[in-house]
Amino acid sequence: MGVTLNFEKSFEVEGGSFQNAGNVSGQIKGILKDLGVSTDIVRRIAIICYESEINIVSYAKRGTITLSVTDEAVKIEAKDEGPGIPDIELAMQEGYSTASPAVREMGFGAGMGLANMKKYSDHLIITSELGVGTNVRMTVMNFQKILHPDLPQITL
């Protein structure tokens, strides 16, 4: 059984550019609405995308956020050229943060970002290499799947 790719697009995110932080997430939210994705999924993707974007802006030199939409799931891949995460398990803990004062002034950097990304996605994988960067892949299963849990599961 194949999975049909309905939409895929990558967006560049500039590190340190707080002025534009959230721009990509806003665009992705608009695309999902136009594609007719259900409101609940649009909201969950918008949140994980925004947290990813804030992370790239806060910590990395640059990054890309890729949106893929299939009949089965909506996926976000946030890939950055940044310092990397030394201890992923520790970073996932609510409240753990290495954010700068500038990030905190904006209302972020309280160690909730990765926890929120996990909370709002059905599946999350983080890989990171020190001095190279971090890659976060998040999947939100499509609503149809939740309505029909007996349908065969497809690993994306």
Binding site: G22, S25, G26, R43, G107, M112, K119
Partner: protein
Amino acid sequence: MTLKDVKEILEADVLVGNDQLDKPVKTAFAADLMSDVLAFAKPEAMLLTGLTNPQVVRTADILDITAIIMVRGKKPTEETVKLAEELKIPILSTKYILFETSGRLHARGIKGCIEKVGGET
């Protein structure tokens, strides 16, 4: 209750969205931490905050927040106002502090998005 009632209860100035004061409001979330807002706020709630930067508007847009209420007399930056106008998100500014703002609205029937953490989705 509508945003117009909120304006009167809080003796607030409407900085953006004078044309949207007939919007109905039932719930609110109060925080200066946007990640907490992203974790707990529900669509169509008001966001009560002392932050004034454009990220407040971005967060509101991501969550389909009905309006932003800036507390303790805070005024948004020029770019925050511009973004709110662009995204059509009302901003009201009140001189009441966050605790007082929340209390006055709660006493008039506005509920929180959630009452306590744990178990919510």
